[in-house]
């Protein structure tokens, strides 16, 4: 009845769609009411449609895995669920009632909590206080004895051994997550979102985390589990949902999911024809990297880049592709392996050194690291090559500066009132072009592009792609780091795939299919997926029933 009212509401409030909203039923739970249902959720950020009309239902005592490439809309969904962003349209239904989640506190009051890859702990507070700090019901006066006793009781319940009086500073990541889970339990959460909780854990720690997840599931909590590790998804999830490009693609019980099928769902995009890369005549090898590594980031990375070649770097979040770029540019120097640049062995320790060799690095982070927003196009573009604009008297030749800026404005079709206009006033796409101009003006031999088209509109994207292709045609060696899989595949002559700091392989243009690259990026091979499926089939039904752990669900 309430559900019907809610459905009526969505008609009333003009959900933009005419197609029926898919609300997939869980296996053997038909008729049960989901704890949390998201219906027809859409969200747009500037030029990007982050979510379009997605629906997701979470049931009691289930672990629901959410899969998707970078940019599939997983993070946006979490942020909507936890009240950080309001949805543009769509409705959130908790226990059959439509709710508004205005902020983090409201989410908490509704019993929705999230655990992030980097736990949100207070290093100076002790373990017990970290568990209870956010409680709205916390009394004005502290009762430390009670606090410590209750914290101990919760940790005991989930079988975690920690001194509750110990400050949280210095806890291992796994311990911090245990504290976060204890916090969630103390809040009587009904919906727990875990955003890549295992990304930085050792295998042993993952095992322990999964035991905690299982405890929560048995207690009736609905868990939304986000991970890029397919084997983990198969070992813990009851149902699996796949998003792609901000859209819902599929929701299936684990028994019906195969690794290949899930990957197909994740990558099933079409490579649009505006990816303009034309194969250039490749010259000799410009850079040879052998066994490059930086402790704690990546290791054993080896590749060659020829003049006139675009080498793509593909991988999921946490693959450490950016760290390789930072190492080549000397921002975070490598501590093992060697780099041979233009025939000579070099050790790159600073960006100055890298610039001197002829390496340019266009950062993914325009606002923080790339551009000086209040300053003009001209100033920004000529900054790294300032030496060339100094007259014999030691003054800056502003006329020649302006000429350079004008030339790039035409070449890159930067839309701006004038080259003296502050960069901060331009659109994201035009800012990105200014960044490119800035580094091209240093006349590099090797250009490292880190997410050159993130967050810019389709037109500007096409301009940037054409330009990259032109540069390669002129003999520049280019490393293209991008999370946009069709972009990497469309633009690159070869694609290097990384996963969690390890090089998974290099594919030639003709072998690099979306499926192959994504399979490598997820660290998946046919044999392990078969094993995981068998494992999944045998383990199905553990604690997934709607009736298990009813008593521990929610008391008030």
């Amino acid at each position: 009845m309430t559900a019907r009212v809610a459905a009526l509401d969505s008609v009333w409030f003009g959900s933009m769609t005419t197609t029926p909203i898919p609300t997939p039923d869980p296996p053997s739970q038909t008729g049960a009411q989901p704890v949390l249902a998201m219906r027809g959720i859409s969200k747009r950020f500037d030029a990007t449609q982050a979510l379009s009309d997605v629906s997701l239902a979470l049931y009691r005592a289930e672990v629901h895995a959410l899969l998707g490439e970078n940019g599939a809309g997983k993070s946006t969904l979490i942020k909507i669920m936890t009240g950080i962003h309001p949805p543009d349209s769509g409705e959130i239904i908790l226990d059959g009632r439509q709710v508004q989640i205005a902020n983090a506190m409201a989410a908490q009051a509704l019993g929705i909590a999230a655990i992030y890859q980097e736990p949100m702990i207070f290093p100076d507070l002790d373990v017990a206080e970290n568990i209870f700090i956010g409680h709205a019901s916390r009394s004005v006066l502290m009762n430390w004895g009670k606090l410590h006793r209750e914290a101990e009781a919760i940790l005991q319940k989930i079988d975690v051994k920690l001194d509750v009086r110990m400050p949280a500073r210095g806890l291992t990541l796994a311990q911090q997550q245990a504290v976060e889970i204890a916090k969630a339990i103390s809040l009587n959460v009904r919906v727990l979102i875990m955003d890549e909780p295992t990304a930085s854990l050792s295998a042993h720690e993952v095992e322990q985390l999964f035991r905690l997840v299982d405890t929560l599931r048995k207690a009736g909590v609905a868990i939304l589990f986000i991970s890029h590790r397919m084997d983990e998804v198969f070992s813990i999830a009851d149902r699996v949902t796949v998003f792609r490009d901000g859209k819902w693609i599929s929701t299936k019980p684990r028994s019906q999911v195969t690794s290949d099928g899930a990957i197909r769902d994740m990558v099933g995009r079409t490579i649009e024809d505006f990816f303009a890369k034309t194969t250039a005549r490749q010259g000799d090898v410009l850079v040879s990297v052998r066994n490059l590594g930086r402790t704690g980031a990546f290791r054993g990375v080896s590749f060659d880049v020829h003049r006139g070649e675009v080498l793509g770097f593909a991988g999921l979040v946490g693959a450490r592709r950016t760290d390789v770029g930072l190492a080549l540019f000397g921002i975070e120097p490598a501590d093992s392996g060697e780099i041979i640049f233009d025939g000579a062995r070099v050790v790159i320790r600073t960006p100055e050194q890298a610039t001197g060799l002829g390496i340019a690095y266009v950062t993914e982070d325009r606002r923080q690291l790339g551009l000086s927003m209040p300053q003009s196009l001209t100033t920004n573009i000529t900054l790294p090559a300032m030496k060339r604009y100094v007259t014999p008297l030691g003054l800056v030749d502003s006329k020649r500066e302006a000429e350079t800026a004008e030339a790039f404005k035409t070449q890159l079709s930067i839309r701006t009132p004038s080259v003296q206009h502050p960069v901060g006033k331009l659109s994201g796409g035009n800012q990105q072009k200014v960044m490119l101009a800035k580094w091209l003006n240093t006349q590099p031999k090797l250009l490292i592009l880190d997410e050159p088209t993130r967050g810019i509109d389709v037109g500007a994207k096409a301009d940037v792609h054409h330009f990259i292709s032109d540069l390669a045609g002129q003999g520049m060696a280019i490393i293209l780091i991008s999370s946009d899989l069709p972009e990497v595949l469309g633009m690159s002559d070869r694609v290097l795939v990384m996963r969690e700091g390890v090089q998974m392989g290099i594919f030639n243009r003709d072998e690099a299919t979306q499926e192959r690259v994504m399979t490598a990026a997820m660290g998946q091979s046919a044999s392990t997926s078969a094993f995981a499926n068998a494992d999944a089939a045998s383990a199905i039904g553990t604690g997934a029933g709607p009736s298990t752990g009813a008593a521990a669900g929610r008391s008030g």
């Binding site: 956010g134 009394s139 051994k161 760290d323 999370s483």
Partner: protein, 365 residues
């Protein structure tokens, strides 16, 4: 459960040792140093700085700073002095309330701008430092509060003793400061408000996600801080009697010095009022005693004080970290995985750089 001494307690203990060492050094250098007079002089000075530093601690715990306290003390001292001079019938409690009220008003301005206006604290309070002082200069119009103009009870106040033990006199003002330190120390440990101060300074992002009322808490910290500065202004008036427009100039630095030396982390999240009191005592003792060391130029006093602050900060960074590691490494029931002691701070991941579009902490606002 076994309770060991915690690193911050060791810190406070080492400060006490340092204080004793300084006193021994000065008593060897200065004839007649160990006397009731020295105690009275230093303790009265400490009383005023300590009250200001208690307020400063509240603000610094939240990862902010209040540089306007010196101007608030000076303004309050002058304004209350003028009010008393023009109306000798004014009741003592009313004078105290007036002082605190002026402080609250200043705190509201600072707090609104920092907590709700999101202007960096150092800029806001550097601005109000100058503004409050300028208002004082303008309003005062070169008039000075003189001790003769004050009512009798006010003149008697600085000599009022709470108790006398032979040569040792404990002034009422000193007792008041100790009570304030004790009350706020208890508040920090036992009030929800106090715990929130620590939480917000310890991890502002986590505080937001945990749904703590960060803005309101920071605002209140400023109001309390400047209310205490107002009270200190009253004490300043009582102690000196004569108040010019430059009164209490530089007290903001003294209070920050007391807080830092007392072991309060300038990045917020850790420290205690007891530490602050000992820090204030150390700073004031050194300042007052160095003047009396024969053959030492006054010129050196500030330099030595600066050196002390640098040492305090350096020791906080180096020694305290080692102590913490040693404390954590002690055998305890370990967590999910006791064997894994990776340094979580060393992980700069792809996601930290790319997913948020900004390096950690580099939010553009």
């Amino acid at each position: 459960m076994r309770r060991l001494v915690r690193p911050d307690q060791i810190r406070v203990f080492s400060l006490v040792v340092l204080l004793v060492a300084f006193v021994l050094f000065f008593s060897a250098q200065i004839p007649g140093y160990l006397s009731g007079r020295t105690f009275v002089r230093i303790s009265t000075g400490v009383a005023i700085i300590a009250v200001v530093a208690v307020g400063q601690t509240l603000v610094v715990l939240t990862r902010n700073i209040d540089l306007s306290v010196g101007s608030v003390v000076g303004f309050t001292a002058w304004a209350v002095g003028m009010a008393l001079a023009s109306n000798k019938e004014m009741a003592a409690p009313l004078a105290v309330l007036l002082a605190i009220g002026i402080g609250v008003l200043s705190g509201v301005v600072n707090g609104l701008l920092v907590a709700y206006g999101r202007v960096p604290a150092i800029i806001v309070t550097l601005g109000t430092l100058a503004i409050y002082r300028t208002i004082l200069v303008g309003v005062a119009n070169a008039k000075t509060v003189t001790i003769d103009a004050l009512p009798e009870w006010m003149k008697a106040l600085p000599r009022a003793n709470l108790l006398t033990m032979g040569d040792l006199e404990v002034r009422a003002m000193v007792a008041l400061a100790v009570v304030i330190v004790a009350l706020f120390q208890l508040g920090l440990v036992y009030l929800r408000f106090g715990r929130r101060l620590y939480a917000i300074g310890s991890n502002p992002d986590a505080a937001r996600i945990a749904g703590l009322p960060a803005q309101r808490t920071v605002f209140l910290a400023y109001v309390l801080c400047d209310a205490l500065a107002g009270l200190a202004g009253f004490m300043f008036l009582a102690r000196f009697g004569t108040i010019t427009v430059v009164a209490a100039q530089g007290m903001e630095l003294q209070s920050v010095a007391a807080v830092v030396v007392g072991g309060v982390n300038m990045l917020g999240g850790s420290g205690s009022m007891v530490g602050t009191l000992i820090g204030a005592t150390l700073v004031e003792t050194i300042q007052q005693s160095l003047i009396r060391v024969p053959g030492l130029s006054e010129f050196w006093i500030d330099a030595l004080l600066g050196l002390l602050i640098l040492l305090a900060v350096a020791s906080d960074a180096i020694i305290l970290n080692r102590l913490r590691k040693a404390w954590l490494a002690r055998p305890t029931p370990s967590g999910p995985d006791g064997r894994d002691d990776r340094d979580t701070g060393a992980r700069v991941s792809d996601s930290a750089l790319s997913a948020s579009g900004a390096p950690a902490g580099g939010k553009s606002s």
